[in-house]
């Protein structure tokens, strides 16, 4: 009894809370680093003048046009120190503050088409999630099932054929899955619309094809990855014990191995969840889904630097959230793990 209740639950919770707070604090310098990096990349490597010249056409551009372009976007301020301004505005009336620091409070400014980026992001998150979440959940389920199947038949011809198939599937370009899937399902079989999107329940018919293709394209590498994890787990002593006491292989795999493999699985999986918000660049642009992925791709093609900068920052925030979530998920999956 004494051993089981040690350390006391309240103390454990306190330690965990302290750990999470420390991790949150640790995230701050990293976010500042990301922020400074994007600032350096977008404003120091190339001056706003260069960007204006690039966007307006390198030749035949007047200084007035450059000035106008910069003023429209608020790039006509000094980079980090505004000597002309008074008081605190010396720091705040600069590009660093107006364009980079303000991203911390969710102010991303306006895109080149004049729309508010933060608003655009919140409306586009829905379609991105509608496609990313089913793909993620289904993909996880399919890959783990296949991996368990291969491990169940390990060292047989089936296992070997499965691994060969996995390697072959992961050697195929993701573009091929999308292009081939669209061609086969939409053009030849006429089972689903080739691309497009609509809100509400109608969305389902547009989502089926991209989700299936997304799951299918990911099977190869993830099945192999989980198979390796399970195989590593299966050599442990507790598995031998479980077999020795007469448990059937099925029970050993599903009850013991699967549960114990949760930690390595969680390491790879949880960190991805927050980044699902970002959507997939390829899938969304091929299927014409108005999510964040296609937003990013359009911004890259139109060289809309403000949007790309915002997406870089949001992506890093979500990734850091994912790292934190991974740590917390360990304690849920395995009570032995203590955060301190």
């Amino acid at each position: 009894m004494l051993l089981r209740s040690w350390p006391p639950a309240a103390g454990r919770r306190r330690a965990a809370r302290g750990y999470i707070i420390r991790r949150l604090l640790y995230a701050i310098p990293i976010l500042i680093g990301v922020n400074l990096l994007t600032f350096a990349l977008f404003f120091v490597v190339n001056t706003p003048d260069d960007m204006a010249r690039m966007q307006l056409g390198v030749k035949r551009v007047t200084p007035e046009a450059i000035q106008k372009w910069k003023a429209e976007r608020g790039y006509d301020k000094p980079l980090v120190w505004n000597a002309a301004a008074a008081g605190g505005a010396k720091l705040t009336d600069t590009i660093l503050f107006a364009k980079s620091v303000r991203m911390f409070v969710g102010d991303f400014g306006r895109a080149d088409d004049g729309r508010d980026i933060a608003r655009e992001i919140t409306t586009r998150m829905g379609p991105s999630l509608a496609i990313a979440v089913p793909t993620f959940v289904l993909g996880l389920f399919v890959a783990i099932s296949f991996a368990l199947l291969l491990v169940f038949f390990r060292a047989t011809t089936l296992d070997f054929a499965g691994v060969v198939l996995c390697v072959a599937m992961m050697s195929i370009s993701g573009l091929f899955y999308i292009i081939g899937g669209q061609w086969l399902v939409s053009k030849v079989w006429h089972l689903a619309p080739i691309s497009g999107y609509s809100g509400g329940l109608d969305a389902a018919k547009f989502l089926i094809l991209p989700v299936i293709i997304g799951v299918f394209g990911g099977i190869g590498s993830s099945t192999r990855w989980y198979r390796t994890i399970f195989l590593e787990e299966i050599t442990r002593d507790y598995v031998r014990t479980a077999r020795a006491k007469g448990l059937p292989e099925r029970v050993v795999l599903f009850r013991h191995v699967l549960r114990n493999a949760m930690i390595p699985i969680l390491t790879g999986v949880v960190v991805v969840i927050p980044t699902l918000f970002m959507g997939s660049l390829l899938t969304e642009s091929f299927f014409g889904i108005p999510g964040l992925g296609s937003y990013t791709i359009d911004a890259i093609n139109a060289q809309d630097f403000a949007v790309v900068r915002s997406m870089v920052f949001i992506g890093s925030v979500l990734y850091i959230v994912g790292l934190l979530a991974t740590d917390i998920s360990y304690t849920i999956a395995d009570p032995r793990v203590r955060l301190q």
Binding site: I30, S171, G174, I179, K187, N301, V312, G315
Partner: protein, 457 residues
């Protein structure tokens, strides 16, 4: 006759090959390394994959010997060279390169894809190709028969070449052909190599024989031969797959070892650095960096003498950017391994003898990390080849004038919507890419199994 041109990427590629040769010579003298490579040599699948990779590398290397042809000039005039930079591969394939059609044509076709008004008649019909199937004459008699003949002739040529090679090998080793195909000397999987070579020679023979009279994979929108484009893409893929890792390695190794061995604030700074970099989603960081690079290249057109140089600079910059975003993973692995090594007896002994820090890192830590570096090198390769295609599609890949799998796919994907479908350039790009990446994956797996002490399976 010609003026050799050394592009930066060529130079780096040759440096890389020299480094690999030097490392191979060094590894021959190291017992554990020799044993590990021995395991790779005995693996039939790995050797077959290595043979395919070698074929790709030969094409890539031929394509890296650049030159500018000398222009015809009257005697007495100064020698002038063509603006266009060509490679040895271009010279070998000058037939394919120059026999361009007007627009699309299907593989082995004799007529153009699109109808045109013929002569002065109002009737529109498919015009004959300028180069594909011209030897058949006006009535196209025996098109199928001619194709079949050429295929069988190509097969015969391939088999003949293979038999010569196999015979030479058997004489050299003084064993019979059957023995070679079973298991080679010292357990080396020569059988797998020779069977793969047979397949490669057969394909080569067929391609040469058919390519003499037809466009084997058809032509693309501006009438270029798709086979030629596919072969030219190989160099870009190889460069991205290898140079990226090469440019990132020195940094990753240095920082990883420093963080692990020195510890303290150095460790903190380096960890902060790579955590920050790795927390930015890869594609977005690459996109941002490539956008900025485009601005630099576009605003400084005077830096590059020829368009080949500009495309080359962009390719290198892409490698650099990809490398900058991917060194973090390797640095992390190296740091963890260094932490372990630091506590081992031989390092402790060296410290007790008063060996300097940097000497320990160089003499005792670095050689024991080489397997991680090697595994990272081969494992990253296939992912990078695939990434190039995706990045080129997104618009942040290689220069649009550089021939690569990505640009081929990008220009070809719109053609699927045409009726009848133009599928051949996509199929060729995906097919070549699949062969390259599959071979790289299989080879990488074998290398990892042989070198990673943890994977005993």
């Amino acid at each position: 006759m010609i003026q050799p041109v050394l592009l930066w990427s060529d130079a780096l590629l040759f440096v890389l090959i020299a480094a690999i040769v030097a490392l191979a010579l060094w590894a021959r003298r190291q017992e554990p390394l020799r044993a590990a490579w021995g395991r790779v040599l005995k693996d039939g699948v790995a050797m077959a994959a290595a043979t395919v990779l070698a074929a790709f590398i030969v094409v890539g290397l031929l394509d890296s010997l650049h030159y500018r042809a000398r222009l015809d000039a009257k005697p007495g005039e100064p020698v002038r060279y063509a603006v266009e930079v060509n490679s040895a591969l271009d010279a070998l394939l000058s037939d394919l390169r120059q026999r361009s059609e007007k627009t699309y044509s299907a593989p082995l076709a004799t007529h153009l894809y699109a109808k045109e008004a013929l002569g002065d008649s109002a009737q529109r019909d498919f015009p004959r190709l300028r180069h594909g199937g011209t030897h058949l004459g006006a009535d196209l008699s025996g098109h199928e028969f001619d194709v079949a003949m050429r295929v069988s002739r190509g097969c015969a040529g391939g088999v003949a070449l293979w038999l010569v090679l196999a015979a030479l090998w058997c004489r050299h080793k003084r064993i019979s052909l059957v023995a070679t195909l079973k298991v080679g000397a010292g357990g080396t999987a020569t059988g797998a190599v020779f069977i793969t070579l047979l397949a490669i020679f057969l394909l080569l023979g067929i391609a040469i024989s058919l390519g003499g009279g037809y466009h084997v994979f058809g032509t693309d929108k501006v009438g270029q031969d798709v086979l030629y484009l596919s072969l030219k893409s190989i160099r870009t893929g190889l460069l991205i797959g290898t140079l990226t890792t090469l440019v990132m390695l020195p940094l990753a190794v240095l920082l990883g070892i420093l963080a692990g061995y020195v510890g303290g604030w150095v460790d903190d700074v380096i960890q902060y650095l790579y955590t920050t970099l790795s927390s930015i989603p890869g594609v977005l960081l690459i996109a941002a960096a490539v956008l900025m690079m485009q601005v630099i290249i576009d605003t400084h057109p005077d830096w590059f003498a020829t368009s080949a140089e500009r495309a080359d600079a962009r390719l290198l910059a892409l490698c650099l950017i990809l490398g900058m975003t991917s060194w973090t993973g390797v640095a992390r692995l190296l740091r963890a391994e260094t932490l372990k090594l630091r506590e081992l007896e031989f390092v402790q002994a060296a410290q007790a003898f008063g060996v300097g820090r940097f000497a320990i890192m160089r003499r005792h830590i670095l050689p024991n990390l080489m397997h991680i570096v090697l595994i990272a090198l081969v494992m990253d390769f296939s992912g990078l080849v695939l990434a190039e295609a995706v990045l080129s599609y997104v618009g942040v890949g290689v220069d649009p004038s550089t021939i690569s799998f990505g640009t081929m796919i990008n220009t070809a994907r719109m053609e699927l919507a045409r009726e009848p479908m133009v599928w051949w350039s996509l199929a060729a790009a995906f097919g070549f890419m699949f062969a390259l990446v599959l071979a790289a994956n299989l080879f990488a797996d074998a290398v990892r199994d042989a070198f990673d002490p943890r994977s005993s399976a």
